[in-house]
């Protein structure tokens, strides 16, 4: 069902937290609308309460400076609260006070040309990246020209231009500029003596298997034509009190937001959160690293099935703002939204949108964080700065995050608890609560919270503790039970053994009878065991949610390899003059599934008793099962066709290759026929509509 969300605009700040009142520059703008919010969960958009609400607007119109023209950068001076706008199209820097009232401007006398960056250092001096003039200019706090700096002289820089677009200074007084030029470099560092100090935080070129293969197979002429892969250019940069430089890259698809330490290494995000850390497949595809923002959206999950949506592009970050609590807010120009992350890179809030209405953006270019968690966003398309105030739940989230990272776990618990009541979809609240409950040794409750957060690692850790407690608690009964079992089985060993032997004999007889009717029964058993096995997996071992398991799909996973094996086996065996018939192969293949049928369920049940640390047992079981399966099929090949061992191995390998070939052919046929079907469908539709 499409639900049309229309929301309110008024919002109450929690009485304890003082709001930062914005004076009226543009007449009587009441608070802006509360645009419906969402968060990301498993790569899917999930409804959530809105994060920020428009609190006011600041524009050049109606003020002595006149309207802004294509402004490119915004800076908030923490000492005075002043806002500085790099009014690029008008070749000047406009200085406004904290309420947005015009103070003064810089530019005409100094002859600024297309300045795209502005910064104020600890002494109050105003630094301007005078882009078109290829220099950096320093002004006094009152706006008088103080010094200018050109491209550092260095052999290393001979091939590169110097068009500084963004600028920050560190505590040592070193100048960091983002240089845009043909040879895009990232961040260049120089000092006040125009000495070159090196490049900073260059983004690595990621390994991409596709590219490597393409290069490998390309001819020399083609290789010359291929695009040279360069390190991705940087967008805006921001320096915090501790000296970390936050940089965003509009081009990267992973690790778009980086926190660079003094030697230029990216230290943003816990290693555990990084998707693809260590996963070979992701490394090969070049998808290693933290994903910020959203990827291209092609479909969405509405809780019961996938629905296609119009294609939406991925995120493109152009600026980042960091507030006193360490909350990182990144501005996505493609999506016209702000994505907010905590100190560890967890997604907190998303807000914004495109449009010509309050609270939406046309071409956002810069973001800064002000006092009381306010955010200021400069929109070049609309020529104004919109000021946003966090909603109450967002303030709670910030505070909880801050306390947690400061180690105040008990206070964090209370906050996470309240937040989780306000938004049960917010995974972070649940896993935060889970962590805190763990520390309080309330393991069962922690498991439940981790379950809500779908945090498998956390769940496993909580389960481990809970298991220990449970075992200790029930040790008497368990011990008694185990003892009785031992004694009982020892006593009944004889009977058991007999029973087992009788069963095995019966089965062997059945198999000997070579009855074709056994095949569907065994296949059905295999399928049943697979589905049950998937359903009985414990939460922390699941790879899909129970509602995502599709019967047809899983059946295919069992039946398709089996069927293609049979076909391939008989074909290859024929070539090698095997003695077995198709009938025999089919029957034998069905019976050879017994390791799968017998071992799957116990393995699944086992996952309910072990933790992720003990995954190795589960994996060992899996290997055992596969080993037995391979051994069974190998035996089948050898005995059915009466091959020697060596031959049998060769035939088996060739059968597997044959299976692959069949799959490729099937895939091809499917693709082609589905294209034909689609074509016919569309022609029919065109005819139907045309005659309408």
């Amino acid at each position: 069902m499409t639900r049309v969300f229309s929301h309110y605009k008024r919002f109450a700040v929690c009485a304890l937290v003082l709001g930062f009142l914005l004076g009226e520059v543009i007449p009587a703008l009441a608070d802006g609308p509360l645009i419906p919010g969402y968060t990301i969960r498993d790569g899917q958009r999930v409804p959530a309460p809105a994060g920020y609400i428009l609190s006011g607007e600041i524009a050049g119109e109606g003020q002595p400076c006149g309207p802004f023209k294509n402004p490119q950068d915004l800076f908030l001076d923490p000492a005075t609260g002043n806002l500085l706008v790099a009014d690029t199209g008008n070749n000047r820097i406009v200085v406004l006070d904290s309420k947005g009232q015009y103070l003064f401007e810089i530019g005409q006398e100094a002859g600024l040309k297309g300045p795209q960056g502005v910064y104020v250092d600890v002494d109050g001096n105003i630094w301007v990246a005078d882009t078109e003039n290829e220099r950096v200019v320093e002004f006094t706090p009152e706006g008088a020209l103080k010094a200018e700096y050109h491209k550092p002289v260095s052999d290393l820089l001979d091939e590169y231009g110097f068009r500084p677009t963004k600028i920050v200074l560190d505590k040592r007084g070193f100048i960091y500029t983002v240089v845009g030029s043909e040879g895009n470099l990232g961040i260049m560092v120089m000092d006040t003596n125009e000495r070159f100090r090196g490049f900073f935080g260059r983004t690595k070129v990621k390994f991409n298997l596709g590219r490597v293969l393409a290069r490998f197979f390309a001819s020399k002429a083609q290789r010359r034509r291929m695009l040279r892969v360069r390190p991705a250019p940087m967008g805006n940069i921001h320096i915090d009190d501790l000296g970390f430089i936050y940089a965003v890259s509009p081009v990267l698809t992973r690790d778009q937001i980086q926190r660079l330490n003094s030697v230029g290494e990216n230290v943003y995000g816990e290693i555990g959160l990084r998707t693809g850390a260590g996963r070979l497949w992701d490394k090969l595809k070049g998808k290693e690293g933290l994903l910020f923002g959203e990827e291209e959206i092609k479909w969405r999950w509405d809780g019961t099935r996938e629905i296609s949506v119009p294609y939406t592009m991925g995120s493109m970050f152009v600026d980042v703002a960091v507030d006193d609590l360490g909350i990182v807010s990144a501005l996505d120009q493609q999506r016209n939204r702000i994505y907010q992350y905590d100190q560890a890179g967890n997604l907190l809030v998303i807000f914004g949108g495109e449009g010509l209405r309050e609270g939406a953006f046309s071409l956002p270019v810069s973001i800064v964080a002000g006092k009381s968690e306010y955010l200021y966003i400069l929109d070049a398309g609309r020529g104004n700065i919109q000021v946003f105030r966090p909603t109450r739940i967002t303030r709670l989230i910030h505070e909880a995050s801050h306390r947690y990272f400061n180690g105040e776990y008990d206070e964090a618990v209370k906050l996470w608890e309240e937040i989780s009541h306000h938004n049960t979809n917010f995974a972070l609240a649940h896993s935060g609560l889970g962590k805190a409950l763990m520390r309080q040794e309330r393991f069962l409750e922690a498991m439940r919270e981790y379950r809500y957060a779908e945090d498998k690692g956390g769940y496993s850790a909580a389960f481990r503790e809970y298991r220990y407690v449970w075992l200790r608690h029930h040790f008497n009964w368990l011990g008694l039970g185990a003892l009785t079992l031992l004694v009982g089985s020892a006593a009944a060993m004889h009977r058991l053994g007999d029973g087992l032997r009788w069963l095995l004999r019966r089965l062997r007889e059945l198999r000997e009878r070579s009855d074709l009717r056994a095949v569907p029964v065994l296949l059905f058993l295999a399928l049943l065991v697979r589905m049950l096995g998937l359903s009985l997996l414990s939460f922390h071992f699941q790879t899909q949610r129970p509602e995502e398991i599709k019967l047809l799909f899983e059946a295919g996973k069992v039946l398709i390899p089996w069927v293609t094996w049979c076909i391939s086996a008989v074909a290859v065996a024929e070539i090698f003059y095997g003695e077995g018939t198709f009938r025999n192969i089919v029957i034998s293949s069905a019976w050879d599934l017994w390791p799968y049928i017998v071992l799957t369920l116990p393995l699944s049940l086992m996952t309910n008793a072990i933790t992720l640390d003990e995954k190795v047992f589960y994996q060992a079981g899996g290997y055992l099962m596969w080993g037995l399966l391979i051994w069974q099929f190998f035996n089948q090949v050898r005995t059915l066709h009466n091959f020697s061992t060596g031959r049998a191995i060769a035939v088996m390998v060739l059968t597997l290759i044959g299976m692959l070939i069949i799959w490729v052919l099937l895939g091809l046929v499917y693709a082609l026929t589905s294209e034909v079907v689609r074509f016919i469908q569309q022609v029919a539709l065109e005819i139907y509509v045309r005659q309408y």
Binding site: M1, T2, I35, R305, R357, G359, T391, M531, V689
Partner: protein
């Protein structure tokens, strides 16, 4: 002698007789059964293309022009007086069919063409367009773009009629003819375009009519003058003529009553309010007009233009739509937007009511619409003891795994009963209750099958017990119902025959879910199911989307225009109301006001377009007292006290959507939009809001007679008996004389204080 063959024959004969008897019995039984079913179901109304608006009456033609003596001194000589009423006088300029309306009560003149047009710098084409009261848009053979018919090529024939003139326009070059009646009635100007006088010569010219802009520049004003434009965006919005704005011309045009077509490919999470009523207006100094679209409001758009570089006028007008664009997405790529081949029929009529003195404000404009609803659309006043809050319960939703359909149960009938008892002991008594997801399968069940009642929640017995309990306390119980969706597992529906069809002729729906044609919903499902629901002894139905959607349907068997669509649903609502007693709806379209006992999810805000300066409760002033209404569920808003204050200021009752269990259970279901709903967590807030409403219980059925801004973020709403509610959204207390309103709070002042 009987031998074996004879016995066999006899045997056969006996068999045959037995068979026939059996067949006869079966036949009788079938007849009885089918008549039984007929006895149980209701008679649907005869009309398959019902309408909301009554038929128009055109004035009769006169022999000669009336001779009128009176004339306002400021009316230029090109204009002749042609009609008169006690309050107004109408002047016509025969050359261009331009009009002037003189308000005799205060001597104000309203020009259809701004009087200073000659002094303004404009291109000739624009000048000519502004001089003409109608602007015709058409499209040619490729049906892709709309062009404007040149007013220069217009030929006009006038016929005097009672109260005004009939102007017959002929566009020879483009091939169109239409008649417009400009008629004065007591205090309004009525403009009518009858359907049967619109002619398009598309066979010869290949041109087809797209839309007609009417009186686009009536009352057009320059920047800097005193006054504002009133636009019904969401709850309402105002554009002041004095506020600074960018020079680039800004214009918007928004359809009335929400979506004109179903769009499934919404990227979601964008914010846009809809226009809930066919009312707009302009206030200029101490005079104003309120325009009400009385016919063809379902096929109209309201446009606003801001003064800018090319045209220095602020103006607001209605566009009557005769053809819509349909998206024909065939090749899987970009859809082609083409105008539909068939014209949207129907008469078109808009009335301009002229207001003076205290009525010349947005409150007066809204009050005029309220009077219109009462006098001409069958609205009635609500009882003074109406409920003070509405609480809904989300009962459950199904989640399928490969082997079972698990019901995620969040509230059972017994739970509801416990909650009601608990709230009552806390003093919360005058409340409406609604159950959502009560049917088998929960919220995403098997529509259009809506029965039986879900056993896992308590079954029919549980529902009976709950209904009985609520009746003993005089509390109304509504069941949420959905007559628009046919879900993949629904039975009794054939998509290609019964589903709604869009402008492109394809069934509207996605992934096995379809929208049902309203007549099919009425004749096949409502008449069958409403009697069964009546046996459950509930007090009413809560009908999803009924007041928020009106879509055109090109279904073969029951083709419907937007008005037919809405009226069909109102037929269904009337049926439910007769059988059960009450009906509540989701949405706020004003045509539903006479048919509903309560409207939920009413918009309490506007879109906040850049164009406008303030949001006002235009809609709420118009309907308060005619219907009970609430906004969105408070627990899904999360902006705290300000939402509550907005509810108070706008006269909406609190609305909560609750569950017994935590909504964390719903995260992995299709109901994950419910992100906070647990009753235990929200109980203190419910009680607090109810107690606040008790202070206002005496005004629940009254009209709002005044609304104004006392200071920045401080607003006052005045009711009929003089009660004033002052709301302060600031973080500091507000003081005015003896009145003090604490920060983020409100006060209620009795009349005379």
């Amino acid at each position: 002698m009987c031998d074996s063959t004879d016995t066999a024959h006899v045997g056969e004969l006996v068999m045959k007789q037995r068979n026939t008897a059996l067949l006869l019995n079966l036949f009788v039984l079938l007849v009885m059964l089918s008549s039984c079913q007929k006895m149980g179901s209701l008679e649907p109304p005869q009309e398959t293309r019902p309408r909301i608006n009554p038929r128009i009456e055109l004035p009769s033609p006169l022999e000669t022009w009336p001779s009128l003596e009176g004339r306002h001194p400021d009316v230029s000589k090109e204009y002749e007086p042609i009609a008169e009423s006690p309050s107004l006088r109408l002047y016509l300029r025969k050359e261009t069919s331009g009009l002037i309306v003189e308000d005799r009560r205060n001597g104000r003149l309203w020009h259809s063409t701004p009087p200073d047009l000659k002094e303004v710098k404009l291109s000739q084409a624009w000048r000519r367009r502004i001089e003409s009261p109608i602007i015709l848009n058409y499209t040619d053979a490729d049906r892709g773009r709309a062009n404007v018919a040149r007013p220069e090529g217009m030929q006009i024939e006038y016929t005097p009629v009672a109260g005004g003139v009939r102007a017959h326009y002929r566009f020879a070059e483009e091939g169109f003819e239409l008649s417009v009646y400009y008629v004065l009635r007591d205090d309004f100007l009525e403009l009518t375009i009858p359907e049967n006088e619109v002619v398009e010569y598309s066979a010869e010219t290949q041109n087809t009519l797209v839309s007609v802009d009417v009186l686009a520049f009536l009352g057009a004003t320059h920047d800097g003058e005193d006054g504002y434009i009133v636009f019904p965006d969401g709850s309402g919005a105002i554009m002041n003529f004095t506020s600074p704005h960018q020079e680039a011309v800004q214009e918007i045009s928004v359809p009335v009553y929400g979506l004109e077509q179903m769009q499934f490919q919404r990227s979601g999470y964008t914010y846009q309010s809809s226009i809930p009523m066919p009312l707009f207006g302009l206030v200029s100094g101490n005079a104003a007009f309120a325009a009400i679209i009385t016919q063809g409001d379902f096929d109209a758009r309201i446009g606003v233009g801001r003064s800018g570089k090319s045209i220095p006028y602020n103006h607001i007008w209605v566009t009557f739509v005769y053809r819509r664009q349909g998206s024909f997405s065939l090749t899987g790529g970009q859809p082609a937007w083409l105008y539909e081949p068939t014209m949207v029929g129907g008469d078109r009529q808009v009335r301009y009511y002229f207001l003076t003195a205290e009525d010349a404000s947005y409150t007066g404009i809204a009050a005029r619409y309220r009077r219109f609803l009462l006098e001409e659309r069958g609205a009635r006043r609500i009882a003074a003891d109406a409920p003070l809050a509405t609480l809904s319960f989300f009962m459950g939703v199904e989640r399928r795994t490969w082997f079972m359909r698990e019901l995620i149960k969040t509230t059972s009938f017994a739970d509801v009963q416990k909650i009601v008892a608990e709230l009552e002991s806390a003093g919360v008594r005058r409340v409406d209750f609604t159950l959502y997801g009560w049917n088998e399968g929960g919220a995403n069940s098997r529509y259009p099958q809506r029965l039986p009642v879900e056993k896992r929640l308590g079954g029919e017995d549980g529902l009976h017990a709950l209904a009985g309990y609520l009746h003993s306390r005089s509390i109304r119980l509504f069941l949420a119902d959905n007559y628009i969706l046919a879900l993949p597992r629904g039975r009794g529906i054939f998509p290609y025959a019964d589903a709604m069809r869009g402008v492109d002729g394809l069934p509207v729906g996605e992934g096995g879910t379809y929208f049902i044609n309203p007549q099919v919903a009425l004749r096949r499902f409502a008449v069958r199911d409403i009697p069964k629901i009546a046996r459950l002894e509930v007090d009413g139905l809560w009908l999803e989307y009924f007041a928020s959607l009106a879509l055109p349907d090109t279904n073969d068997r029951y083709p419907l225009s937007r008005e037919n669509f809405a009226a069909s649903w109102m037929q269904l609502a009337t049926l439910a109301r007769e059988q059960l007693g009450a009906v509540a709806m989701h949405g706020d379209n004003s045509y539903a006001v006479p048919y509903a006992d309560r409207l939920d999810y009413v918009q309490l805000d506007s879109t906040h377009y850049d164009l406008f300066d303030e949001t006002i409760p235009l809609y709420q002033i118009a309907v308060h007292g005619l219907v009970l209404y609430s906004g969105q569920p408070y627990n899904l808003m999360n902006d705290g006290q300000r939402t509550f204050l907005r509810q108070i200021e706008y006269g909406a009752i609190p609305n909560f959507l609750l569950t017994q269990e935590s909504s964390a259970l719903l995260t992995r279901t299709s109901a994950n939009w419910l992100w906070s709903s647990q009753y235990d967590f929200w109980r203190p807030e419910i009680i607090r809001q109810y107690q606040a409403m008790e202070k206002l219980s005496h005004v629940i059925g009254q009209f709002i007679v005044a609304h104004s801004r006392l200071a920045h973020n401080v607003y006052q709403t005045t009711y009929e008996d003089g009660t004033r509610v002052v709301v302060n959204y600031n973080e500091q207390p507000f003081t005015l004389g003896a009145l003090t309103v604490p920060a983020l709070d409100f006060v209620v002042l009795q009349g005379g204080e």
